[in-house]
């Protein structure tokens, strides 16, 4: 008995030690192939082992972190769960911006990457329509794209997506100062050109958890379980892998979204054309988290009232910001919602016959 306990304790403390010394490498756990590349962006294709739906899924991830969280581990991979359910999955991975990308704007992200990516996915899947799924700020981009898209978007699913930028309860004074331009970020952004990943990391930490010890205490508590320790180390590595942010895109977010809240007022434009959320006609599913400090419910919920979709639904989950994206606790009603709004393969084959 004592020998068994000793072994457990050795595993526990070596897991904790490795957390401070080793860096686990994150590799995609679901088979995939690159379909299209532009600048640093790649369109990945994840085939379904058994294709059950014609409508492919097109994933748009956030700009502040890497999309590896969507396919972290075979058992808890969101992409893996979707392909196993019979969907062909396409992911637009924006890559890591460098100094030469400092002039990239939100318009560029939508017009040069998201829209062509969707066209390539539609062509490759030989489908008449597509389901767009956005995560966090990628969800905001997906909603903007859906508002101006010429491509046939059947469904739009937004995970923890901010659309109303007037609500920052913990930092209301800072928010007010930025709105009144008492804090002018432009000289700093212009000077830096591209916002270093470390700055993004500090910003996210400040909003969520400036002191960050509870994950390490969780590892101390459960680190004797090797599977838990492995998942923990992958997740911990991902949380530290923030990426640089193009200055022009950040200035646009500060000016158009935070200061003028243009998505709410319907004045946001892409390539000179209006991108009004009221124009979205795709079936809409908004998934928001009640324990999300980065994107509070109040920032995500207005999408339901703003969107012009006739079929819209809201799912509220008790997860944190990344709980759903990491595949942990995927709601079963998400799959029900999606399957009832995607074109199944077998019905069409019956029609053909």
């Amino acid at each position: 008995m004592e020998a068994e306990r000793f072994s457990l304790e050795t595993t526990r403390w070596s897991s904790l030690f490795r957390a401070f010394t080793d860096g686990a490498s994150i590799a995609a756990s679901t088979p995939r192939q690159a379909l299209w590349k532009r600048n640093k962006a790649t369109l990945w294709y994840y085939p379904a082992p058994v294709k059950k739906y014609h409508t492919p899924l097109y994933l748009v991830y956030s700009l502040v972190n890497q999309p590896t969280i969507l396919d972290l581990m075979p058992n808890t991979s969101l992409i893996g769960a979707l392909t196993k359910a019979g969907y062909e999955v396409y992911l637009i991975d924006f890559g890591i911006p460098r100094y030469e990308d400092r002039d990239m704007t939100i318009d560029d992200y939508v017009l040069k990457y998201i829209q062509p990516g969707a066209r390539h996915a539609l062509k490759h899947s030989n489908s008449d329509s597509i389901t767009v799924i956005g995560f966090c700020l990628g969800g905001t981009l997906a909603a903007i794209y859906a508002a101006m898209a010429k491509e046939p978007i059947e469904n739009l699913i937004l995970f923890v997506t901010p659309v109303d930028f007037s609500y920052f309860p913990k930092f209301d004074l800072l928010h007010q100062a930025i709105k009144e331009e008492r804090i002018d970020l432009s000289p700093l952004i212009d000077g830096l050109g591209i916002i270093p990943a470390a700055f993004i990391n500090y910003g996210v930490r400040l909003i969520t958890s400036p002191v960050y010890i509870s994950p390490y205490l969780s590892l101390l508590e459960k680190g004797h379980n090797q599977e838990y320790a492995h998942k923990w180390s992958l997740f911990n590595k991902w949380t530290k892998e923030h990426i640089a942010f193009p200055g022009a895109a950040l200035k646009q977010i500060v000016n158009d979204l935070i200061i003028h809240n243009k998505l709410m007022t319907g004045k946001f434009t892409i390539g000179g054309e209006p991108a009004r959320l009221q124009k979205i006609s795709a079936n809409l599913l908004v998934i928001a988290s009640t324990n999300d400090e980065l994107v509070p419910l109040e920032q995500a919920l207005p999408m339901i009232t703003l969107s012009g979709s006739k079929d819209k639904e809201l799912i509220q989950l008790p997860n944190g910001h990344t709980g759903i994206a990491s595949g942990a606790g995927l709601p079963t009603n998400l799959f029900h919602w999606l399957s009832s709004r995607s074109h199944p393969v077998h019905i069409e084959s019956e029609e053909v016959i």
């Binding site: 004074l173 000289p187 830096l192 400040l206 205490l217």
Partner: protein
């Protein structure tokens, strides 16, 4: 210490640590969200932005006699590549559109002439082309359009 007691100890450490973390984080957030910090940030962002610009200008100036490339020089070269890639992508998109249109046209020509009066190409009184002729015509047109677009792109440069 017994095994269960040890497990309880780890759970207690986790619970107490998490509570302490929440308290400290709330304190930090409240402390940051104050008028004096806001004022300081307002002044420092201006100052820091100006400082970065002056350092960069100095480096740009120094790079001339030192005969070394700056980050901006390297980024300019990378940007040229990105611009060329954008142009190629644009041409490719146009070609795809043309290809799709031609495929639709080909499909429309391929339909039986008396099937519907609404088909726009039925008005043409020319002899219907056979499969090989149509394929040849599409290929020739595609090649011509591709050349024209490439020439246009070169003129644009």
């Amino acid at each position: 210490m017994r095994s269960e007691q040890l497990d309880d100890l780890y759970s207690q450490i986790k619970l107490t640590g998490s509570k302490a973390e929440t308290l400290v984080n709330e304190w930090i957030k409240n402390r940051v969200n104050k008028e004096d910090i806001v004022g300081l940030l307002g002044r420092r962002t201006q100052w820091y932005g100006k400082l970065i610009k002056e350092i960069q200008d100095a480096v740009e100036t120094a790079s001339v006699p030192l005969n070394i490339p700056t980050k901006k020089d390297v980024a300019s070269v990378a940007k040229l590549t990105i611009q060329n890639e954008d142009r190629l992508e644009d041409i490719q998109q146009r070609l795809t559109q043309i290809e799709t249109t031609l495929q639709r046209l080909e499909a429309a020509i391929g339909t039986t002439p008396s099937s519907s009066k609404k088909a726009p190409l039925q008005k043409a009184s020319r002899r219907p082309l056979d499969r090989k002729e149509r394929a040849k015509l599409v290929q020739e047109n595609l090649a011509r359009l591709s050349d024209a677009l490439l020439n246009q792109s070169k003129l644009g440069e």
